[in-house]
Amino acid sequence: MLPLTLLVKAGLYLIMAISLLAAVASVSLPNIFHAALALALALLGIAGIYLGLQAEFVAVVQVLIYVGAVITLVIFAIMLTNRMADRSTPAKNSLGAACLAVAAGLFSILVRFIRSTPWPETTSAPAPGTSEIGQALMGPYVFAFEVISVILIAVLIGAMVIAKKDNPGEDAP
């Protein structure tokens, strides 16, 4: 069965490469609509990596919430805000080169740390299935679960109030 595991590994590395490329594209593409689509591809790649880690539930939730809802939200916002077709305004500000250098430096430091520390090679216990996650959510993490539902309700109402059309408070200058 050796070739199969090799195949899976190659697949995972391929997915990593694709999602990195998509991430770079989503950062650098001038047309914001294409950038959002590139981000969707990157997130799908990350969901693939979650599958590689046998965390199926997380992968499916990631696809459902990110690619299904957040990207759609972003595209709605893009359509409501600016005229994408005009190429006149430059997409990136002047800090390009400097930030690139700093980012590369940060990345090299991180890689050096990651390389130097000895990580455990093999995965220890079997992957947590959906039922274990459910038990844990209702068991030790029930407080966090309730807090996050409160936060989501607050966000839900807050976002609607902010984005509502006729806000009496702010009147255009």
Binding site: M1, L2, P3, L4, N31, F33, H34, L37, A40, E56, F57, V60, V61, V63, L64, V67, G68, A69, I71, T72, I75, F76, M79, G129, T130, S131
Partner: protein
């Protein structure tokens, strides 16, 4: 009966054993995966072709006309003729259109509908991929079509298609929430997300154990099916491609094979949604005498007949009614339904039926009262008397 029931599983095992004799072990596992993929890749488009024919025949019969019968014996070759016509039609790309999204949209709309086939249990032991997050996988995959519809509508640089895209995105999102919530009771009772376990949980008593015969199951089935119909942009909810108002919605600027892909995605979606509805509520491949896969296809095609029946009868509903139905009627009903399913889980015997039925009937009545449309006050005519 047993062999007929397992005919596909046995034939696949036969092929694998045959391959196993002279191929190394890992190639055989690859072949096993390849056979399943090939089966789905054939099943998908073929069901789509014959669903178009079935739709035109059934709607024809409802309107006292015959439907296609020129090509082939009873019009059986009509889908092939449509396919050839679609292939030979010129493929027009509007000037100034966003080439990337215009080209990618039809592909990205077909992929999720094909992926959705992976978790549907076609028969006993015939679930292509038995994920233990099956139902969630189906919902996640069917939610990604929104992006493809956005790409189609924005890519074809046409006001009608952007309007259609916006409408269909709003509809898809607002009908996805009740759809997901209507599946929760089934998972709660069946105790697992895997479609195969759900079907096994409905076994027994010659079919009376199906979830649709419980009060919460009946409501959940109606809501799931309605949301499924809305998800495929079909029949009463086909606002995105409302021919009368916005030409053809988000696939206005598509012609030739690209349009056929949109068409195929719609029909494959309606097949998979009906298949899942049958699996979750009508006991998938459970059935007394006939082989299991035959039961599955009978139930799925019965549900597809209902979808076509909707198309033959119901007029298109307005956007505000569409949104109102989703958010003000289906959403609260599903939440109450989850409560009812929870109570069903913890009570026993007659009390179980009484409590759940009364809660659901009461909430249904209350919601219809709340949603009673406001009657606009008498119009005041300024000039006309």
């Amino acid at each position: 009966m047993e062999t007929l029931d397992q005919i596909f599983v046995l034939s696949k095992k036969g092929i694998l054993d045959f391959l196993g004799t002279f191929l190394p072990e890992w190639v055989v596992t690859l072949a096993c995966v390849a056979i399943t993929i090939k089966a789905i890749a054939v099943l998908g488009p073929v069901t789509m072709m014959y669903l178009t024919l079935m739709e035109r025949k059934v709607i024809g019969r409802m309107q006292n006309r015959i439907g296609p019968n020129r090509v082939g014996k009873w019009g059986l070759l009509q889908p092939l003729a449509d396919g050839v016509k679609m292939l030979t039609k010129e493929d027009i790309v509007p000037h100034g259109a966003d080439a990337v999204s215009h080209f990618l949209a039809p592909i990205l709309i077909v992929i999720p509908s094909l992926l959705a086939f992976a978790v549907i249990p076609f028969g006993r032991g015939m679930t292509p991929v038995d994920l233990n997050v099956g139902v969630l996988f189906f919902i996640a995959v069917s939610s990604t079509t929104t992006i493809a519809i956005f790409m189609a509508s924005w890519g074809s640089r046409n006001k009608f298609s952007v309007l259609g895209g916006m409408r269909s995105a709003a509809q898809m999102i607002s009908y996805e929430v009740p759809m997901v919530l209507s599946v929760v009771p089934v998972i709660l009772i069946a105790g697992s997300l895997s479609t195969n376990d759900i079907v096994l949980a409905q076994a027994g008593w010659g079919g009376l154990k199906w979830f649709v015969f419980t009060p919460w199951g009946f409501f959940a089935f109606i809501i799931f099916f309605l949301c499924g119909v809305a998800e495929c942009n079909r029949s009463p909810f086909d606002l995105p491609e409302g021919e009368s108002e916005i030409v053809a919605g988000f696939h206005t600027e598509y012609s030739g094979m690209k349009f056929a892909l949109f068409y195929m995605a719609e029909f494959m979606n309606s097949f998979t949604v009906s298949g899942l509805a049958a699996t979750l509520f009508l006991g998938g491949w459970q059935g007394p005498f006939l082989p299991s896969w035959l039961w599955f296809f009978l139930k799925t095609y019965a549900l597809i007949f209902v979808m076509i029946w909707f198309r033959g009868t119901l007029p298109r509903i307005r956007v505000d009614q569409l949104m109102g139905l989703a958010w003000k009627f289906l959403m609260p009903l599903t939440l109450v339904n989850i409560l009812a399913a929870g109570l069903w889980y913890f009570t026993e015997g007659a009390a179980r039926w009484l409590i759940t039925a009364s809660i659901l009937a009461g909430s249904f009545w209350l919601l219809t009262k709340l949603n009673r449309g406001y009657t606009p006050e008498k119009r005041v005519y300024l000039f006309a008397e």
